[in-house]
């Protein structure tokens, strides 16, 4: 069946010019880059805390120009290959959200939380590259940033629907866009030549059966998403906490006993992250007292 709405959305995604990110993060990075005592790993650590910049860095390093498409899945590896000067240029030319709402920071906090919890679960499972799974966690809701930045009219409609009808963000997306943010994010990351190990968990985090090669990683991201929502860290569009899929719980081996061990580790992470997110929130309020 030909679906005009889907076609329209995909066309917009193909001509997407680049995603804006939070002004205070760009400001912070610009400051760091001007400071000669700041090292590349320190800059990597800040880039890793922003889904838009992270996707940009990964897109660049996996682009045809560098000649190793779909190979590099972590910011630290990307920075080694791109070099300081390229990172510098990416940062000074990064575009920022002109109109910020405190909601935008909420989504960004949510993504950071999911990245941290994905990393903890991956490490606990003994997966080969926990940093990579954390990156998938960071990027899992990139589709929502795209809606916010580039599908503005539809974004407003989704927002209203969620508010007035009490449906979930995903249900509203399905109705208005005929696809959800997971598909949008996956579609873009795939177009940008990112490794499949990142694309799949992003594209399938709400529907495990869609994942073929990286089921465990996908299950990790799904559960991390749910845990972070349940904990109330950040805001991802609606107040509902989805049910985890049976299969996901099984693949990750997550039960009450394990949770008891892992929850304190997560709390430590949330506590650390708060320092950073509060700093960014304050910087934002200073500039934009209206939000």
């Amino acid at each position: 069946m030909i679906d005009d709405k889907r076609r329209e959305v995909k066309k917009k995604l193909r001509t997407l010019k680049g995603l804006p990110t939070l002004p205070p993060i760009v400001a912070k990075l610009t400051r760091m880059i001007g400071d000669e005592t700041v090292s590349a790993p320190q800059i990597a650590a800040v880039i890793e805390r922003d889904q838009v910049l992270t996707s940009k860095v990964l897109r660049l390093v996996n682009s045809a120009f560098y000649g190793f498409p779909r190979r590099i899945s972590t910011v630290s590896n990307a920075i080694v290959l791109l070099g300081f000067n390229v990172i510098r240029t990416l940062v000074i030319t990064a575009s920022i959200f002109e109109m910020m709402q405190s909601r935008d920071v909420g989504l960004w906090e949510h993504s950071l939380g999911v990245a941290a919890v994905s990393g903890i679960l991956a490490r606990d499972l003994g997966l080969e590259n926990p940093e990579e799974v954390a990156t998938a966690g960071l990027l899992h809701d990139l589709g929502k940033v795209v809606e916010r930045a580039s599908l503005v009219e539809d974004y407003k409609k989704i927002q209203e629907k969620v508010r007035n009808e009490g449906v979930t963000w995903r249900e509203a997306e399905q109705e208005i866009l005929h696809m959800d943010h997971a598909e949008i994010g996956g579609y873009l990351l795939n177009r940008w030549n990112l490794p499949e190990r990142l694309v799949e968990p992003v594209a399938s985090h709400h529907e495990l059966k869609k994942a073929r090669r990286f089921k465990v990683e996908t299950a990790v991201v799904q559960l991390a998403d749910i845990l972070v929502r349940a904990r109330g860290f950040g805001y991802s569009g609606d107040p509902w906490v989805p049910e985890p899929e049976e299969k996901a719980l099984k693949l990750v081996g997550l039960d009450e006993k394990k949770l008891e061990v892992l929850l304190p580790q997560m709390e430590v992470k949330f506590y650390e992250l708060k320092f950073f997110t509060e700093e960014i929130r304050e910087a934002l309020l200073e500039k934009n007292p209206a939000t």
Binding site: K17, G18, A40, K56, R59, L60, S63, F65, Y66, G67, F68, R71, I72, S73, N77, V80, L81, L82, G83, F84, N85, V86, R88, T89, L90, I92, T93, A94, S95, E128
Partner: protein, 310 residues
């Protein structure tokens, strides 16, 4: 078709320049937003950049600096478009550009400058097509330069172990990916420790040369080795990574277990009067390589014999 990026306002005379250049067979794209252009440059590399200083003086300076400092982009010609009245005040040390064009220049002048700059870039470049790094002529020239210099330098010869079986197992294009990865790693590490004093050249195949001040040579080698061992895992299939080796068959058809590529570096210190000729440096490197190659895994060796030193 040569691709030219024009970073300027989208008004005459720039639109007219773009038009006449297009008529001459160049593909011209105008970017009035330097932010957008910055991204564009890296995602799809042009053959030349014309950039108007007046567009955003600070960002323009930053962008040029970033491009020219990237050793694999250094040969990309950049022409600065300036207001002729500003000329006396411009400090050319701050702009790593190849030439300039005045804002009021005629279309004929613009075409000639562009042609000339492209020709000059071609003449200078013996760059390796796979990595964009300078090739043998430049390497030779650079080594001659440091052996006659008063400072203390290190010439590092880099190559891969077990590269051939890797190519056999995964095919050449995967091999090329690893070569490009090594090139970027060398460029960035050398750039980080030696800045503009550093040099990286690509002899061919999996053979590279880098030149840095002697006091940072150990650091460069250690970091290249450590990062290479980490990065190379991205180029090995998950099944093989789990097994811990590659499987190939040798000429007799026997199944072999082979480790994935590692990197060997032989470092020859150079000081005034130590060598008269480039060949002598290569000879010492060959001796060192003989020892380095006996050690399994990624390693480096620096020639510590200093008895001839004044």
């Amino acid at each position: 078709m040569k691709k030219i990026l024009l970073l300027s306002a989208e008004v005459p005379p720039y639109t007219i320049w773009a038009e006449v250049l297009t008529q001459k067979g160049y593909r011209v794209e105008i970017f009035p937003e330097i932010q957008e252009a910055g991204e564009r440059v890296f995602f799809s590399l042009p053959d030349m950049i014309l950039v108007s200083e007046g567009l955003h003086p600070e960002l323009v300076k930053d962008l040029i600096f970033a491009l020219k400092c990237d050793l694999s982009l250094a040969s990309l010609p950049i022409l600065l478009i300036v207001d002729p009245e500003k000329l006396p005040r411009i400090d050319w040390h701050e702009y790593f550009v190849d030439d300039f064009i005045c804002e009021g220049a005629s279309s004929e002048e613009v075409i000639s400058r562009v042609k000339l700059a492209l020709l000059r870039a071609e003449r200078l470049a013996d760059n390796n097509p796979l990595t964009g790094l300078p090739g043998n002529t430049s390497i030779l020239r650079k080594i001659e330069e440091v052996i006659h210099d008063d400072g203390e330098w290190a010439v590092g010869y880099v190559d891969l172990d077990n590269f051939k079986p890797f190519n056999d197992a995964y095919g050449f294009s995967r091999g090329d990916e690893v070569i490009r990865m090594l090139a970027r790693l060398l460029v960035n590490t050398v750039e980080f420790y030696a800045g503009p004093k550093g040099f990286v050249g690509h002899i061919g195949g999996d053979d590279f040369v880098f030149i840095v001040p002697l006091d940072v040579a150990d650091k460069v080698a250690q970091e290249v080795i450590q990062k290479f061992d980490q990065l190379v895992l991205n180029f090995v299939d998950p099944e093989d990574r789990e097994r811990g080796c590659l499987l190939t068959t040798d000429r007799q058809g026997v199944l072999c277990r082979i480790p994935w590529p590692s990197v060997s570096i032989a470092i020859v210190p150079v000081w005034a009067g130590r060598f008269k000729h480039y060949g002598e440096v290569a000879a010492v490197a060959a001796q060192l390589k003989h020892y380095v190659k006996k050690v399994p895994g990624s390693t480096y060796l620096i020639d510590r014999r200093k008895e001839e030193r004044p």
